[in-house]
Structure formats: structure tokens, C-alpha cells
């Protein structure tokens, strides 16, 4: 939600120079300072925005909100769930932005889940549940979680556990003194650590360049006893009933959402200290939420191999896909399905369902090779998959059934298949295929994904600009190519070199790239505009008589702008296809907000085009960027880049 912010700063007048005198403490020498005004920033200049956000944080502090991470939470309105030893703190994420319509305060509702248990308590509980594999279980439960330290307001992601250290060990402070952890916490915070043999938890902050250009890496060691866990505990996530209970507290209706936001505005505008703080910078926040007029795009027609249909208001066409053959399909003859012993039944059921649904969809499918694993440990999966890859060089697809939310296993499988062997893979969560009523629909969706990954095309859409745009991850017959490239941005690495290499490779292979789609994150927008686009244009010149139109579509999926439709006094969700291309859009980029799944796009005359491309590319694009950055850790081989088949949607 956006609320307009006014900014009125008094005229600085005619001040050119200011002369100051002071004395240096060490030797009483007289020093004179001259301050010269170089420019006046208009109040809505981009350079002022960070200051306004600092002021905003101060205002939130004045209202007694606690800053955890980037958002502000209110402990006084905490909801305590005794059964699960959790607390839910309601709060807001807020920031000031400049848009086409002026200065706006963007606010969204956020909830923080905090636990009454320290990291040490969690370790104790794990031990209580079973002493075998204690260290492994601890790693699984704790790594990746965010911990909140008792003595300051900081949150840290747990990256590792150091079993060989304890609070009795020494470490060196910035000023060179050595002290033990026990002593440090006693002296500085008056906290007495009770458990002297506990291991220490490690946080590795992201590498950043120091002042002299050297990368600063380092470890931060935390005491489990002094750190609280945040986020939903693993065992709770698996308990559906409790999760339902939990989400009831978190999900709010449109009505409640706006009420809570209005309440925040009221709190800000009735608190004297808060108003004074804002006033000091000439800021004031209007009390109403922004209303703007949008327009609705007409529903699109989807074309399959031999039939066509108009999309329904819900924008879901799975039923039609399941009934009629997809546009093009790749026969799947040589593939393997890997599953741990205890998933035998579900694996059987799944394969049978695959065979049943494949034919009406026009997919040619042979039964896969079934490989049973003796347990579900990561090493087991990797070993067996690897040996299969070596013994069956013609395998087209590797499908794995995973038990539970195993991020590390998922990454490892992807890495093995994509980076080391160039074979597409599909990971399926056991839970997804455990419900018999939903199995048919799930199997259809999985087969569609597999087909895509093998290079088949699912559907197409009529486009007035180009004859036909196909959703194709690899298409050697038609003129339009859909390239997805992903990069891993190291702090000082040039974006362009990697991209150019891949683009050249693709151009060499296909020669007819009409449009290139490059998916980036927000912070890279400026870099792209300033450097990469001119370089890319230069790159095209290396091909004779080739002048494609280069359009950069930046897809921002994770934005915090929520749009509600308003009919009379009632709030509702606007229908898919709603477009809002003014007022809250950025003034630097030509963009618009598109509601298919809250996407924001960056090119005016492609408004409709990009609508047609949704939801699939955006869903995949986001997943792809996420996946690449997180999982693969290295650029995949050029060969694979031509096929771009690495995406999984684990439902």
C-alpha cells in the first residue's frame, strides 16, 4: 500500500561559505575549516531517499517497534502459541520510494515468528528425541535458520556448527586483547554462561570488499545458550493441523489488511515525537491509502496442437492441457526413477499414473527404470545416480523422489545432474505424491515439466507483433528463441563478459534471435542500463546484417506492492490481466504493474506481450534465478545453456 508523502524544506537561502575554527586536542594547534555549498538537492532527488528511510526507521523506533532484520515488529501485540512454544509478532515492512506520482510510503504487513527456545534448548530437544546421528540431526535442524542474539538486536543465519569449540575458548577482540567467551559476556553484558561445554554456532557473513578492495570474510561465533531461534520449527512444518492454526493468525483479509495499515498511519500521526522527527526533514504523511485507476487486459486464447481455448478468469488451463495433445512433445524412452525403499508404494503408483495420463496429452512414454535406494541419505542418492549416469550414457531424464524438505539433497542432485553430467533432472517431494485423489493432476503437471525440460513446447499464444511466439526452451525450427541466461554475480566481476559468451554461443547456433530476455534483480537495473545495453549492441554488430531489436524485460516478482480492487466500499482481489501503468510506477523506467501474479515489467509496448508470456516464464524465471544462484554455484557448461533445463517446481 502506498501513502503519499509531502516534503517541504525551508529555503537554505544564500549561504556560500561557512568558516569554522577549532583546536586539535593532541597539540592544541589551531585548525580552520571552510564549508562550501556545492548544490541544492531537490526534495525528491534519489539521493535524499536513503535519508528519508533513516528518518522513517527512527519514527518506527519512537512508536516502540522493534527492528528485526529489515522490518518493524510490535512485541506488545504478540500472540503466544503455548503449545508450540512460539510467539507471532505482528509488524510492518515500510520504506519510502519515489515513483511517477511523487514520494510514497510503501507499507506491508509482516509477521515474525519467534520462539521461546534458545538454540541450546533445541539441541537438547534433538538429543532427547534420539541420540543416534545427533550431530547430523542438529546440523539439519539448525543450519539455515535465523537466530536472534539475546544481548543485542542482531539476527544471524546459522551457517555451521563448530563442535570442537566451547565458551571456554579464547578469541581476539578488534583492539587486540584476548578474552574467553565466558569472560566477554560476563564483563560486557553481565550474562553468566551456564553450560560451559556447549559447541559454538558459526555465521559466515557474505563476502564484501573492504575499503582497500580486499575481500573481507570472517566467521562470527555465537553461543547457543544466548541465541534464540526464529522461524517455524521443522517438526511443526510437517504438522498440517498446527500449520493451519498458525496461518490463521498470519493471513489477513483485504479488509483487515487495510485496517492495520490505517492504524499505523494513525499511530504515526498522533505521536508528537514522531511528527516532530518527520517535520525536521520537512516530511509529513498523508492519512489515506492511494487510490489509482487501472485497466484490464482481455483474456487470451491458448493454442495447443489441435485445439484452442480462451483462458478462464482463474487463469488455469491444466484441465485442457490434460485432455489435448501439447504443441510439440519429445518421446521419453530412456529414463530412471530413484526412490528410497520406504517410498516403494508411492513410486509404483506414480509410474502407473504417468502411463495412464501420458497418452491423452500426446506424450510418448515408456516405463522408466526403477532404482530403489536402501535409505534416504544424501550420499546414497548421489552414489547411485552417479553410477547410473556412467552406465547409461543415453539416459534422458533422472527423476528422484525426496522425503521431506531436503534442501541440501535437492542442491546436490541438481549439481550432479546439471553441472557434472548435463542431464535434466526432476525432484519430487514424497508428500506431493502421497494423496491419491490429487495424484492424477500432479502427474500431469510433472509430465508437462519433464516435457519442457526435454525441449518440447507446451502451448502458444497469438501475438499481433510476431507471427507466433512459442513457449519453448529449445526450439530449432522456429524463428523466435527464448533464451534464459543466468549469472552468478561475484562482487567485482563484470556482468557482461559472461553474458556475451553465452549470447555469442547461442547466436552461432541459432542465428535468429529476435528477442532476448534477461532476468535480473532490482539492484542491477542501473548497471544494466548504463553498461550492458551499449555493450550488447556492440556485440550484435559482430554479426553481419543482423539488427535485432533488443528489449530488456525485467521481471520483478518479489515486490511488496499489493493491489486491491475496490467496488464501492468492499475490497477484493483484482482479476488477472489488470494493468496499472501510472502513479506508482517508477519514474526511471518505463514500467507497469501487471497482475497475473503481481509482476512488474519494464517495457511499454510489450505490455500485452508479456502478459501472454505469463505465468510460465515468470514462475520459472524466478525459480531459475534463485536456483542458479543458490544451487549450482558455478556457471553450467555452455552446452547445457542451450537447453536450459533445470527448473523444478516442487509443489
Amino acid at each position: 500500500m502506498s501513502m503519499p508523502v509531502f516534503n517541504i524544506l525551508p529555503n537554505p537561502g544564500e549561504i556560500d561559505f561557512v568558516d569554522l575554527q577549532c583546536t586539535r586536542k593532541t597539540d592544541n594547534a589551531e585548525i580552520s575549516l571552510k564549508i562550501k555549498m556545492t548544490s541544492i538537492l531537490p526534495p525528491n532527488s534519489n539521493l535524499c531517499i536513503p535519508f528519508y528511510n533513516v528518518v522513517l526507521r527512527r519514527v518506527m523506533k519512537i512508536l516502540d517497534f522493534k527492528l528485526i532484520g529489515r522490518n518493524h515488529y510490535d512485541p506488545k501485540r504478540a500472540v503466544v502459541l503455548g503449545k508450540h512454544r512460539l510467539q507471532i509478532w505482528p509488524g510492518y515492512s515500510a520504506c519510502i520510494k519515489r515513483t511517477d506520482g511523487g514520494l510514497y510510503l510503501t507499507v506491508d504487513i509482516s509477521h515474525k515468528i519467534l520462539r521461546n527456545d534458545s538454540v541450546l534448548d533445541v539441541m537438547n530437544m534433538i538429543y532427547q528425541n534420539g541420540k543416534e546421528n545427533f550431530q547430523d540431526e542438529c546440523m539439519k535442524e539448525l543450519i539455515g535458520s535465523i537466530a536472534l542474539t539475546r544481548y543485542n538486536n542482531r539476527t544471524y543465519r546459522i551457517d555451521d556448527i563448530n563442535w570442537n569449540m566451547s565458551p571456554k575458548d579464547k578469541f581476539t577482540l578488534f583492539n587486540g586483547t584476548e578474552t574467553t567467551f565466558v569472560e566477554y559476556y560476563r564483563k560486557n553484558y553481565g550474562i553468566t554462561i551456564k553450560e560451559l561445554d556447549q559447541p559454538l554456532v558459526v555465521h559466515r557473513p557474505k563476502e564484501r570488499s573492504g575499503v582497500s578492495g580486499k575481500t573481507l570474510a570472517g566467521e562470527i561465533l555465537l553461543i547457543p545458550e544466548l541465541s534464540f531461534m526464529t522461524g517455524i520449527p521443522e517438526n511443526l512444518r510437517k504438522d498440517f493441523r498446527s500449520m493451519k492454526d498458525l496461518t490463521m493468525h498470519i493471513n489477513v483479509s483485504g479488509e483487515q489488511h487495510t485496517n492495520q495499515l490505517r492504524q499505523l498511519l494513525k499511530n504515526i500521526n498522533t505521536n508528537e515525537a514522531a511528527i516532530n522527527e518527520l517535520d525536521g526533514w520537512g516530511l509529513a504523511i498523508k492519512t489515506n491509502i492511494l487510490m489509482a485507476e487501472g485497466r484490464n487486459l482481455p483474456a487470451e486464447t491458448i493454442y495447443l496442437q489441435s485445439s484452442a481455448f480462451k483462458t478462464s478468469p482463474e487463469v488455469s488451463w491444466t484441465r485442457e492441457i490434460g485432455r489435448d495433445p501439447t504443441l510439440t512433445c519429445v518421446p521419453l524412452t530412456c529414463w530412471g526413477i530413484f526412490y528410497p525403499r520406504r517410498c516403494f508404494d508411492q513410486a509404483e503408483e506414480l509410474i502407473n499414473t504417468f502411463v495412464k495420463v501420458a497418452h491423452p496429452m500426446g506424450l510418448k512414454l515408456e516405463r522408466p527404470v526403477r532404482i530403489e535406494l536402501k535409505d534416504d541419505r544424501t550420499e546414497t542418492y548421489l552414489k547411485i545416480i552417479h553410477s547410473h549416469l556412467v552406465s547409461e550414457p543415453n539416459v534422458q531424464m533422472i527423476v528422484c523422489i525426496l522425503t521431506g524438505n531436503r534442501e541440501d539433497l535437492y542442491s546436490a542432485i541438481k549439481k550432479l545432474c546439471s553441472v557434472q553430467s548435463s542431464v535434466p533432472s526432476q525432484a519430487i517431494n514424497l508428500r506431493t505424491i502421497s494423496q491419491p485423489q490429487k495424484l492424477r493432476a500432479i502427474a500431469q503437471k510433472i509430465l508437462l515439466q519433464i516435457n519442457c525440460k526435454l525441449g518440447g513446447a507446451l502451448w502458444s499464444v497469438a501475438v499481433p507483433l510476431v507471427s507466433k511466439v512459442k513457449y519453448s526452451w529449445k526450439n530449432s525450427t522456429d524463428s523466435t528463441l527464448f533464451i534464459l541466461v543466468f549469472f552468478f554475480f561475484m562482487p567485482n566481476e563484470e556482468l557482461i563478459d559472461g553474458f556475451r559468451v553465452l549470447l555469442l554461443a547461442s547466436l552461432q547456433t541459432y542465428h535468429k534471435v529476435k528477442s532476448a530476455y534477461w532476468f535480473l534483480s532490482d539492484g542491477q537495473l542501473n548497471a544494466v542500463q548504463q553498461y550492458e545495453i551499449p555493450q550488447l549492441l556492440k556485440c550484435f554488430k559482430t554479426f553481419p546484417q543482423y539488427e535485432p531489436m533488443l528489449v530488456f524485460i525485467v521481471v520483478q516478482k518479489r515486490i511488496n506492492t499489493t493491489l486491491y480492487s475496490m467496488e464501492g466500499e468492499k475490497f477484493g482481489v483484482p482479476p488477472p490481466g489488470t494493468v496499472l501503468d501510472h502513479t506508482i510506477t517508477s519514474s526511471d523506467w518505463v514500467d507497469f504493474f501487471l497482475l497475473s501474479h503481481h509482476i512488474r515489467h519494464g517495457c511499454d509496448h510489450l505490455q500485452r506481450l508479456t502478459y501472454k508470456m505469463l505465468p510460465a516464464p515468470c514462475k520459472y524465471a524466478h525459480k531459475l534465478a534463485f536456483l542458479s544462484g543458490k544451487v549450482l554455484h558455478s556457471e553450467p557448461s555452455i552446452h547445457l545453456a542451450e537447453d536450459f533445463i533445470f527448473v523444478d517446481l516442487c509443489y
Binding site: T23, K25, T26, D27, N28, R58, K61, I62, D64, K66, I68, Y73, P75, A78, V80, G82, K83, R85, Q87, W89, L114, R115, N116, L120, D121, M123, N124, M125, Y127, Q128, G130, K131, E132, N133, F134, Q135, L148, T149, R150, Y151, N152, N153, L173, N175, G176, T177, K187, N188, Y189, G190, I191, K194, E195, L196, D197, Q198, F228
Partner: protein, 373 residues
């Protein structure tokens, strides 16, 4: 002569000195005279014995810039204090009287007096020792004798110092205070010079004044007539969450009780499923990893249900048909419960007031009904 560098830095050593004193004497009401950027207050607030913490400074701006740093942290809500804590910040002058800090347990006055004009010292002593009369007061100031060891120093250590006393000058002043206001004093310091310079003394000299007991009888209401003059301005007041707050106490107690009763319920339901009539928690095979630390602390949390008496550190409960009786004194052995309630009596009182819990005699009654299936 080498440049002297203190490790840890001198200002930190001064803070540690005051904190040590607090840890030893466990005062409830503490005031920091000349609190400036509230750094010392921020260290003091971690001491659980402190219930009222006050900061006074003549400079309003520096307090305003730093006061929000004294707000409760998120973890103060997750893990409330047992005793309450109120922090108050005032803008005021130390040569003026205000009843808000009378008769405190401890006052700290770190590197302050040297910033007062010598002519103001008299008024300062009168207000602090004659009117505020804290039980203990810690005063620190630079030791001028040490200045000869500070390389390149000409004049005072800071431009704002009005004077810097030698050891003798400081101690004379202190002994005079003791005579006039009936205090006793001990001397100390932080920041030692290099070996061989011990006679010079510490870089910072410290005096710890303690009020003489006899004083109370003779001066019962020291300057009571000034008690309605409020010359300080309250800038900020913050209350920390504690178990003394009824809501927080109740919520925390309900939280703990719900968790443990659910755990007990679940255990009994599971064990009846497995046909385990002995109701003993089965521990899996011993791990060969060294987790001795874990089992030690775990014993405080571990619950082993047993009809007959078992070893220390386990919760004993009794099963009567469809209900389980947990003796309250068993519940009281749970660490967190002990923190929330000061005694078993208090625990019983509180549970009686909360509707969702049933008490029979000295037991908490939990019903194992299979209503969740």
C-alpha cells in the same frame, strides 16, 4: 619512552570497574551522574539485580540522540526479567536538587567532576552527599601524577577539564567529604603504567564512598524541605517486561504449562498405542559422540513417566485412569517455571486463578482424552 596503550581501552576498564561493583553489591536503585551517551547505562541494564536505573546529564541533546538504545530488545520480551526494571533519563544539573534520585543504593560519577568549575564543587558535594545521599558512590577522575607518563601531553588531557588533581589532592578532597557528610572511602584505580612506575599510581583514580550506618539516625530527612522542588526534566522513561507484570506472568505460565501438559499427554497416548504399560521413556542406543554436556542439561528437561519413584531429575507423575496427576512441586523443578514463579505456593495460587488448569490437592490434573484424533 613508549606510547602507553591500554588494553582493553581505558574507558572500558572504567565501565568494567563499575559493573564489577554492581555485581558485588547487587544494588536495586542505581543512578549514573553525567550519563552523556548512556554507554554505561547500557551496560548496567544487563544486571538483573537493578530495578530502577536513572541517568542524569546537563546536555539534553546527547541524551535524546541515544535514549532509544535503552529500549528493551526483542529478547527481553521472549525472556522477561524476574524483577521489574524502569529506566528514566533526566536533563538536569548536578549542582541542583531534585528528589527523583534520593537515597539510591548506588551512584556512579565517572570522569565528571573535572568538568565542573572548582567553585561549583562545593555545591556539587552538598547536593550529592548531603541531599541525594546514595548508599554507595563511585567517583573517578584523571590522576595528574600519571600525566608525566602520557607522551606528548601538554596541559590537560581534555580541553573541557577545569582541573586535574594529583593523588594527594583527590584523596584530601575525598577524606574531607567523609568527615563532613559521614561517609567512609576506599581508593582504587584503573590503567596501570609500565613496570617500575607503580608509585605514580593509576591513570584514572577512583574513590568508592560508603555511607556510614550511624548517619541514618542523625539525619533522618536530609533537607526534606527541598523535596517539592523538581529541577530536572524527564526526557524518557521505559519499562522493561518482567514476570512482575501480571499479564506477562500469566502468559508465560500458561505457555509453559500448556507445553508440558501437551508433552505428557502425547507421551501417554503414544505409549498406550505401543502397549507400553511400564510408561518408561525408551532411550535409543547410546551415541558414541561426546555429548556429556547435553545429557547433563537435558536431565533438567527430561521427563520420564513412571508410576514408581525414580532417580533425581525426572518428573514423577501418577496415572489415575483417564487422568494424570502431576505434583506441583515436581512442576516446580522445571527451570523455566522456577524462573516465573518464586515458589510452589505462588505456582499453586496462580494456577488456581487460571481457568484452563485443574488443581486437585497439590497436583495439576491433566486429562488424557483422545479428542484430537
Amino acid at each position: 619512552m613508549e606510547r602507553i596503550k591500554f588494553s582493553p581501552p581505558l574507558y572500558k576498564q572504567r565501565y568494567y570497574f563499575v559493573i564489577d561493583l554492581i555485581m558485588k553489591s547487587q544494588p536495586k536503585k542505581v543512578v549514573d551522574l553525567g550519563c552523556a551517551d548512556c554507554s554505561l547505562l547500557r551496560k548496567m541494564k544487563f544486571q538483573q539485580c537493578v530495578e530502577e536505573l536513572v541517568g542524569i546529564d546537563i546536555n539534553q541533546q546527547v541524551i535524546r540522540e541515544n535514549m532509544y538504545l535503552l529500549s528493551p530488545l526483542p529478547c527481553d520480551y521472549l525472556n522477561p526479567r524476574i524483577r521489574p526494571l524502569v529506566i528514566k533519563l533526566y536533563q538536569g544539573s548536578l549542582i541542583e536538587k531534585d528528589p527523583c534520585v534520593k537515597n539510591f543504593d548506588m551512584a556512579s560519577c565517572i570522569e565528571v567532576i573535572e568538568h565542573l568549575e572548582l567553585s561549583m564543587l562545593e555545591a556539587f558535594s552538598n547536593v550529592v552527599f548531603g541531599y541525594m545521599t546514595p548508599h554507595t558512590i563511585v567517583i573517578s577522575t584523571p590522576n595528574a601524577d600519571f600525566n608525566q607518563l602520557l607522551l606528548g601531553l601538554t596541559g590537560f588531557r581534555d580541553r573541557d577539564h577545569k582541573f586535574e588533581w594529583t593523588k594527594t589532592e583527590f584523596q584530601n578532597w575525598a577524606l574531607d567529604i567523609c568527615v563532613r557528610y559521614e561517609y567512609s572511602v576506599t581508593f582504587a584505580g584503573v590503567g596501570s603504567g609500565p613496570a617500575g612506575t607503580e608509585d605514580v599510581g593509576f591513570c584514572t583514580q577512583i574513590a568508592i564512598f560508603t555511607r556510614m550506618p550511624a548517619r541514618n539516625d542523625r539525619w533522618p530527612n536530609s533537607n526534606a524541605d527541598c523535596d517539592d522542588i523538581h529541577s530536572y526534566k524527564l526526557l524518557h522513561e521505559v519499562k522493561y517486561p518482567s514476570y512482575c507484570d501480571k499479564n506477562i506472568f500469566e502468559n508465560a505460565l500458561i505457555n509453559e504449562m500448556t507445553y508440558w501438559t501437551e508433552k505428557i499427554k502425547k507421551h501417554f497416548l503414544n505409549s498406550t498405542e505401543q502397549g507400553d504399560t511400564k510408561n518408561n521413556v525408551q532411550h535409543d542406543q547410546e551415541s558414541n559422540e561426546d555429548v556429556s554436556w547435553c545429557s547433563r542439561s537435558m536431565e533438567k528437561h527430561c521427563v520420564n513417566w513412571s508410576v514408581c519413584k525414580s532417580a533425581d531429575g525426572y518428573l514423577e507423575v501418577q496415572k489415575h485412569g483417564d487422568t494424570i496427576h502431576i505434583p506441583l512441586d515436581q512442576l516446580f523443578t522445571i527451570l523455566e517455571v522456577k524462573k516465573i514463579c518464586s515458589s510452589v505456593v505462588r505456582l499453586k495460587e496462580a494456577l488456581l486463578e487460571i481457568e484452563q488448569f485443574e488443581i486437585a490437592g497439590d497436583n495439576l490434573v491433566v486429562c488424557i482424552c483422545d479428542n484430537e484424533k
